[in-house]
């Protein structure tokens, strides 16, 4: 029962009454608890082809990223706030089109957990 990829990716819906129990969290409140060494010179995440994103019907990256790195701009393009990435790898494996070029940040950069 592997997740379908590419154009075959299918979103599923929760029952409305279950969905209604989900709160709407403002992710920036969580980001404030995290420490980063930001690499201003090099983005370690990159959308390979925005045209593929445009074709991607459900855009799951906008949801499953635990720190909300991916957002959609007014022009419809996917924006990547790589600075808040916690390097979990979910977008690397979870993008149904494998349309994200995912690298590790350069040595010393990126998230630095204080508790972990």
């Amino acid at each position: 029962m592997a997740m379908k990829t590419g154009d075959a990716f299918e979103a599923k819906e929760l029952p409305e009454e279950v969905k209604a129990t989900l709160p709407n969290v403002y992710v920036d409140d969580l980001l404030m608890s995290l420490k980063y060494f930001i690499d201003e010179d090099k983005a370690h995440l990159r959308i390979i082809d925005q045209a593929v994103c445009a074709r991607c019907e459900y855009k799951p990256c906008l949801y499953f990223c635990p720190v909300g790195v991916y957002t959609q701009g007014n022009d419809g393009r996917i924006q990547v706030a790589y600075q808040s990435c916690v390097e979990c790898g979910s977008c690397r494996v979870g993008c149904p089109y494998k349309n994200i070029q995912w690298e590790l940040p350069r040595g010393g950069f990126g998230v630095a957990y204080k508790f972990g």
């Binding site: 029962m1 592997a2 997740m3 990716f9 299918e10 979103a11 599923k12 819906e13 929760l14 279950v18 129990t21 989900l22 709160p23 709407n24 969290v25 992710v27 969580l30 980001l31 608890s33 995290l34 060494f37 459900y58 799951p60 906008l62 949801y63 499953f64 635990p66 720190v67 909300g68 916690v86 390097e87 979990c88 790898g89 979910s90 690397r92 494996v93 979870g94 149904p96 590790l104 940040p105 350069r106 040595g107 010393g108 990126g110 998230v111 630095a112 957990y113 204080k114 508790f115 972990g116």
Partner: protein, 440 residues
């Protein structure tokens, strides 16, 4: 240019649990070891629940308690909580084996534990190189690995053996061709948690712990993840609580769920919220867990290289036990590297002795035994929802009077299960659960 060729007897990629264990064993065996870590210091990238098992630590550092490990609390109470829609049933044990000395497991935080663990390797003579990301291998024409390439200027580090302990994002393991693609989203759980600070006395009172020499570690099932495959956890630190949950990545993607919304829903649960009320958020974070088990493992060794820990999917998906497997596998890889040095043979023939060593111990046995379990949860999501709700309802009825004859009550209880999941089906579930755990 190559006048300053950097040469070690062995290179370890990643100063996590597996990596520092491998480095420790090799340094003690007299090798000149480079332990390369991409973070500012060991632990800064690492994440878990969590509880760490002492058997694995003691195996490498028998006198670990004398070396002041940064533990939070020993696990003196462990088990399951079943969350219903608004209730909670606790099934935990305390005392008995949990009172062993030293305890079976300690609760800890990785940003504290991993530096200490790496220090044990450094004390044995391993050379820690932090703030350095390994990006590729140095290989001979026949494929034999003879070192690594880092992102430092002139970043080549040569060594006849490389142990890859890079964690769940096993990019280098893939680069070597030990596995040909990423794990499927359905073989990974994304786990996310909050560390919430509370006064020690408050934690003791709320969790029923006599003092800070007692700690609680529980897995939480039921109304944790909207009825979708997932599992929560609670660990009591000294003066904070680690609380979070893991949900399969395909589920998050397909249902388009925001992890932080799901986490908040769980923390707002009427049985959970009072436990953390008034606490301050110290840190939020997230990490993947490779749950594919035995079937998802890469080839473990090749000419000049071995893989250990999460990079090789060595996690027991039922218990989320990965720390002990990582440590023991790191150790066995280190021993194999020592053997290779003493024979002067670094080909796959000697490296594959690592796999033999793993087969002799608990790791491959456990992983084989549990190989059906991750698929089981995929195909039986009711284990995550219907049954915990049933337990809550049933116990709730059992311990309340209602003024009804007990026989009727029992019928009602079974009814509440059979409505949701036919009785025969329920019996079938229990058999398949047992099979998946026993590895039949």
């Amino acid at each position: 240019m190559n006048s300053e060729r950097i040469e070690f007897d062995a290179v370890v990629v990643g100063a996590g649990l597996a990596g520092s264990a491998a480095a420790m064993v090799m340094a003690r065996g007299g090798l000149n070891v480079a332990l390369i870590e991409r973070g500012q210091k060991p632990g800064g990238k690492n994440y878990f629940g969590g509880a760490i098992y002492t058997h694995a630590i003691a195996d490498l550092v028998p006198d670990f308690m004398d070396r002041r490990p940064p533990f939070e609390r020993p696990v003196t109470e462990a088990g399951f909580w079943f969350l219903g829609k608004d209730g909670l049933t606790r099934m935990t044990v305390q005392g008995g084996e949990l009172n062993a000395d030293p305890p079976d497991a300690f609760i800890t935080l990785r940003a504290n534990f991993d530096p200490w663990w790496a220090e044990q390797a450094q004390a044995a003579g391993a050379f820690l190189i932090p703030k350095t990301t390994v990006v590729d291998f140095i290989r001979e024409e026949n494929g034999q690995v003879t070192g690594v390439l880092t992102d430092r200027p002139q970043g080549e580090i040569h060594a006849p053996v490389v142990i890859i302990c890079e964690g769940v994002n096993n990019i280098l393991t893939q680069k070597l061709g030990l596995i040909h693609r990423d794990l499927e989203p359905a073989q990974m759980a994304l786990a996310f948690k909050k560390v919430i600070s509370l006064p020690m006395e408050t934690i003791n009172a709320r969790f029923g712990l006599p003092d800070d020499a007692h700690g609680l570690a529980v897995s939480v099932l039921g109304d944790v993840s909207l009825g979708l495959p997932g599992m929560g956890f609670v660990y009591t630190n000294k003066a904070s609580v680690s609380i979070g949950l893991g949900v399969m990545l395909d589920t998050l993607a397909e249902y388009r769920l925001r992890p932080y919304d799901v986490l908040q829903r769980y923390l707002d649960h009427p049985a959970i919220a009072p436990l953390i009320k008034g606490g301050q958020l110290l840190e939020y974070g997230a990490h993947l867990i490779p749950e594919g088990g035995y079937r998802a493992m890469p080839k473990l060794a090749t000419d000049g290289a071995m893989v250990a820990g999460d990079a090789a999917a060595m996690v027991n998906a039922l218990h989320w036990e990965g720390t002990n497997m990582a440590i023991v596998a790191g150790k066995l890889a280190g021993e194999t590297a020592l053997e290779a040095h003493s024979r002067g043979d670094f080909t796959a023939k000697v490296m594959s002795r690592y796999e033999d060593r793993l087969s002799e111990g608990f790791i491959l046995k456990d992983l084989k035994q549990y190989r059906g379990f991750s698929r089981f949860l995929e195909t039986h999501p009711q284990f995550m929802d219907v049954y915990p709700n049933f337990v809550n309802g049933a116990l709730g009825q059992f311990f309340t009077a209602y003024g009804k004859p007990k026989k009727e009550l029992f019928k009602g209880m079974l009814g509440s299960l059979t409505n949701r999941r036919g009785l025969i089906k329920a019996a079938g579930d229990i058999v398949s659960m047992a099979r998946s755990v026993m590895g039949w």
